[in-house]
Symmetry: C2
Subunit: 182 residues, 2 copies
């Protein structure tokens, strides 16, 4: 048994199902990284391919980003709670992000676990969360909800984030593709 990885801004992906959720869960990991979180913890099915594909991107494109797996989502949530982190659960049923973000930032800017659900989120999650937060009250995508939440948490600064030690760097172009490194 390995210890749960503790990060300042961590994402927990609930209920991953091997094969069916592979791409959605991969996108969650890549968005967590690109939008400035410090890492992602997957729960649900153990999916070595998923962990490796997110790690692989991180190794090539730089920055520090932790990718790990923990069978019990509840253990992760309780461990983060115990360490004084705020638990923010993104759900269509929650309080609109624009109403809650000020309070969240004041309370826990740098100690936060962002939880994104899969198909069926256990009822207990709603009670364990300090904040149940919605990004629109419409059904859409946990990937988009995660991106917008991390964006609001950082006031858009994540779009300027630099990734130290990158082997591959995009040089923005009006047309075509330019990447330094391989």
């Amino acid at each position: 048994m390995t210890a749960i990885v503790i990060m300042k801004v961590a994402v927990l992906r609930l209920g991953h199902r091997i094969s069916r959720d592979h791409r959605i869960s991969t996108h969650c990991g890549l968005v967590a990284r690109a939008f400035g979180a410090d890492g992602i913890i997957y729960s649900g099915d153990h999916d070595q391919g998923l962990l490796e594909s997110v790690k692989h991107v991180s190794e090539g494109w730089g920055g520090r980003f932790e990718v790990s797996y923990e069978k019990s989502w509840k253990k992760v949530v309780n461990e983060y709670k115990r360490k004084g982190f705020a638990i923010v659960h993104l759900t269509v049923y929650g309080i609109p992000v624009r109403k809650a973000i000020g309070k969240i930032k004041r309370k826990c800017k740098n100690k936060i676990l962002v939880v994104v659900g899969g198909e069926k989120v256990p009822w207990e999650m709603y009670d364990l969360a300090d904040f149940n937060i919605s990004v629109t009250s419409q059904p859409h995508s946990e990937i988009a909800a995660l991106a917008i939440f991390l964006d609001r948490l950082q006031g858009g600064r994540e779009l300027n984030k630099k990734f130290a030690g990158a082997r591959k760097i995009v040089v923005p172009q009006e047309r075509g593709k330019k990447v330094i490194g391989k």
Copy 2:
């Protein structure tokens, strides 16, 4: 042959592959709708299940949202160009959204085709686009890129959007779930 649907803020999803892209393409459609676009056009494989699942959400949750399919992405792009729309292609290789959004909004706020790619975007797309725009220069997700782009285009107002004629409406809660209607 049906005519291409013209909308003020439209999304074109390139290169859909049946089964492999089903969930990612569904999320693109739901995000387009939830974040205030007027509709989505899918190109690539024809996938009736995909079209129906996005339409089904739209019917239940209200608002007007067009969902259609067109085999040739190029035909869609050219038709929108001909009608004076700006073509904004979201790509990791493009100019950062924060640098370009002012210009895009001044030029074409309400006549815009947002193009989101699949696995392999044809080179021609980069040339046909009026703007190749990146949401971070990191690899992540077309779903997140679409959400952030639509968010910036509307200055966050999309988070308050109301969906007329909804049969189902979420009533935001601090804990648990409350939905009016069925």
